[in-house]
């Protein structure tokens, strides 16, 4: 089939490997990436109890990259990892750049399903059409960067692409991530923990088969159109190429949504901002621009080498190399913790890559500990007993932050074990230990940490976090309509401008509902969400539809893609409904719900004041039941998901 690859099934318990074609009908309905992954996850848990332990052998790891991934289309390649989340106990997924997914596709496989558990550590080696499980006992105990080096050496090829775990995954830390290519991560939801629970140290791929294209001339024309539209936004794209997501550090201070010091304030002091913003990175650290994945024409990332004089802490990390920190990196490890030292933040980022830990959950955990220290919930005696030496958790203490990361990754002491599952779990264990209230200092939703953005005065953003199918995620409904005041996009989408009001409530539920569908389709196509969301009026899904159609020879329209996105969202929702989630679960933590925003133009706003209105609108636009938050049969039938409706109805998780 032009443009599409096969499905690879690997059962680690029986050591069987099977190649299957993916039916055309599945392509039409789910396209690829997170779409087909989601369908495969659903089907897996028809045979397996969805309430199964996500760290047990019955969980599944599914990897997929959509059809435009691994091609030079222009929007990069984003590989989706899907599983039941050990971090949240719900639907789990995570997206990564780098080369593993593309190499898998170049080897002929679009999707990989791993089941069972190996008797000893193994890694999966996909070498074009040849696939084998190899002994990984010599890799067990090594962190990600060293393990990748050893694998490349033993395969005599520096160009193989890896997705592997560090010690955090081996030690079954709930939010262990998958380090991809040594410089990107499938961070959220705990995919690394799932790999560790299966004794699966790494996925390795080398692909030289290539991708047959149905209509090369039309595909080149679609690529040209991508470039033509990029050229329509020189101001935006030039800035994006120079700074990438890091540019949000100071914009978010201006609009007051940086969750400074664990969200106690919503903007940093100017002197802290100046140490962490994009200008500081460009001035002292930037090396050369790189793209994080194949096929990207904007290359918003970069590579740096710390020389040792860039900051007070830099001398400790002289010679360390790595990728440019993203905004999420700085927010999680610098804004929330008040570590005002960019090289130190970069070092902590590298530690998380190496151990394989989700930056959001880990950074939030460190910020949480620092606030508990400030409030006197954690004592000096507690900390000394955990670390074996006197220490403090003062704001900005990067050295103790590094020790927390190592403790979690190694599971070497009580502190690490306290943080094993997620930050909510850590707070509960701390409450048990101290008898003091601590959960109110965790910023979370559905047991997942919210990353260091304050949503209290941004109703659209708060709605995204409250309804996300994985814990408190900000990207599922990502659309810079609200925060960048895009009343033109709001008018185009809804006929009214209100979704483009920074702090307005009207149309924010509708915005989340629509953006989720759009973003799911973007991932199903295999590309990065960040360029399409720069401006959805310019980078509409007509571009993706043209690319996929030319590649595959199968006609997909813009409307087809939107419907695919909506179908994917409904699959994720249905999975969580089977686990008992209802409307009351679409909420956020105490700080975001009940504590008024402390500063800025949205001062005094809090989520509890308007969440009911926003959720009502969200469910209405989804076609779901407002009272329960459950799906309605009519919507599922409209999407051709009658079989899903039947399963939900049998489990009292559907409104007829």
């Amino acid at each position: 089939m032009f443009g599409f690859g096969d499905l690879l099934r690997v059962d680690l318990s029986t050591e069987t490997i099977r190649r299957e074609a993916i039916p055309l009908e599945m392509r039409r309905r789910y396209l690829g990436g997170g779409g087909i992954n989601g369908r495969l996850l659903w089907e897996h848990f028809l045979d397996v109890d969805p309430k199964t332990d996500p760290r047990g052998p019955d969980n599944v790891l599914i990897v997929g990259l959509g059809p435009l991934g691994g091609t030079p289309f222009g929007f990069g390649s984003k590989t989706k990892f899907t599983f039941k989340s050990p971090a949240y106990g719900l639907f789990g997924d995570s997206v990564s750049g780098a080369g593993f997914g593309p190499a898998m596709r170049w080897a002929g496989f679009d999707h990989l399903v791993v089941t069972g558990k190996a008797t000893h550590p193994v890694y999966l080696w996909i070498d074009d059409g040849r696939v084998e499980l190899r002994d990984a006992r010599h890799l067990w105990g090594k962190n990600a960067l060293e393990a990748e080096h050893v694998i490349k050496r033993e395969l005599y090829d520096e160009e193989v692409h890896t997705a592997l775990i560090g010690r955090a995954g081996e030690n079954l830390v709930g939010y262990a991530s998958i380090t991809v290519g040594g410089h990107r991560a499938a961070g959220r939801s705990g995919g690394g923990c799932v790999m560790g629970s299966k004794n699966l140290k790494a996925l390795v791929a080398r692909g030289r088969t290539g991708l047959p294209v149905a209509d090369a001339a039309a595909f080149l024309a679609a690529m040209d159109e991508v470039q033509r539209r990029i050229d329509k936004l020189p101001v935006v794209i030039d800035n994006w190429r120079r700074l990438g997501t890091l540019r949000s550090v100071d914009f978010y201070d201006l609009i007051h949504c940086n969750a400074y010091k664990n969200g106690q304030l919503s903007a940093m002091p100017k002197e802290a901002n100046a140490k962490l913003n994009g200008a500081a990175y460009v001035k002292d650290l930037i090396g050369h621009a790189v793209s994080c994945s194949p096929g990207c024409s904007t290359a918003c990332s970069a590579w740096q080498r710390i020389r040792g004089f860039e900051s007070a802490a830099a001398k400790h990390f002289a010679g360390e190399q790595g990728p440019k920190p993203e905004y999420l990196t700085v927010a999680s490890l610098g804004v929330g913790t008040d570590v005002r030292d960019l090289p130190a933040v970069i070092h902590l980022n590298r530690l998380c890559f190496d151990y394989g830990l989700d930056l959001v959950e880990m950074g939030n955990g460190i910020s949480f500990l620092m606030e508990c220290w400030e409030k006197g919930i954690i004592s000096a005696a507690d900390l000394e007993s955990w670390l074996g030496e006197p220490a403090n958790l003062d704001w900005g203490n990067w050295e103790v932050a590094a020790k927390v990361i190592e403790a979690v990754g190694n599971q070497s002491n009580e502190l690490g074990r306290m943080l094993k599952d997620n930050v909510v779990g850590a707070a509960r264990r701390l409450e048990d230990r101290t008898g003091q209230a601590a959960l109110k200092y965790v910023n979370y939703g559905k047991a997942g940490a919210t990353f260091s953005e304050d949503p209290r005065s941004f109703p659209g953003w708060a709605c995204n976090m409250a309804v996300a199918s994985r814990g408190a995620d900000h990207l599922k409904g990502f659309a810079p309509v609200e925060k960048t005041g895009r009343k033109d996009i709001s008018t185009a989408w809804f006929g009214h401008p209100e979704a483009g009001e920074l702090h307005g409530v009207a149309l924010k539920g509708a915005l989340s509902a629509r953006a989720e569908n759009v973003n799911c389709a973007t991932n199903a196509a295999g590309v990065c969400t960040f360029i399409p969301t720069r401006d959805s009026l310019i980078f509409g899904h007509d571009l993706l539809a043209a690319g996929v159609s030319a590649l595959s020879g199968i006609s997909f329209s813009e409307d087809d893609l939107y419907n695919i996105g909506e179908r994917i969202c409904n699959m994720e929702k249905a999975f969580n409904s089977r686990l008992g989630l209802r409307r009351s679960d679409d909420a956020l933590c105490d700080r975001w719900m009940n504590v008024p925003a402390p500063d800025g133009p949205g001062k005094g706003m809090k989520v509890a004041d308007w969440l009911v209105q926003v959720l009502d609108e969200y469910y209405a636009h989804k076609g779901w039941d407002k009272a329960t938050g459950l799906q309605r049969r009519a919507k599922l039938v409209e999407l051709g998901l009658d079989d899903v409706a039947d399963v939900l109805a049998a489990e009292n998780a559907l409104v007829d």
Partner: protein
């Protein structure tokens, strides 16, 4: 008469040829400020920022007064700091630019 502080970033710094300035306004609206800047730097300043027909910000750019969203009818107050920038991008440090 009010006086505001204008801070320019990215393309607006290029258009104005400076990083910021104090501006006196007879009328205290954001629209009046844009008219003033059009006179100083040419209509390309306002054209870069706004769709003149709707008053909405153009793709990827924004202006904020002390973090508040603006449109032409928005009232400005004496001492307001109005920042022109690429949305989602920098920057801060306005104290250093005047």
């Amino acid at each position: 008469m009010i006086e505001i502080k204008a801070v320019y970033h990215a393309v607006f710094e290029e258009l104005a040829g400076r990083r910021g300035e104090q501006i006196a306004l007879d009328q205290s609206s954001f629209g009046a400020l844009i008219e003033q800047l059009d006179l100083r730097y040419g209509r390309s300043f306002g054209d870069t920022l706004l769709d003149r027909r709707t008053g909405y910000f153009k793709s990827g750019v924004i202006a904020l007064a002390n973090g508040r969203q603006l449109e032409p009818s928005t009232a400005l107050a004496d001492g307001d700091e109005v920042v022109f920038l690429v949305a989602m991008a920098g920057g801060s440090a306005p104290d250093a630019v005047l």
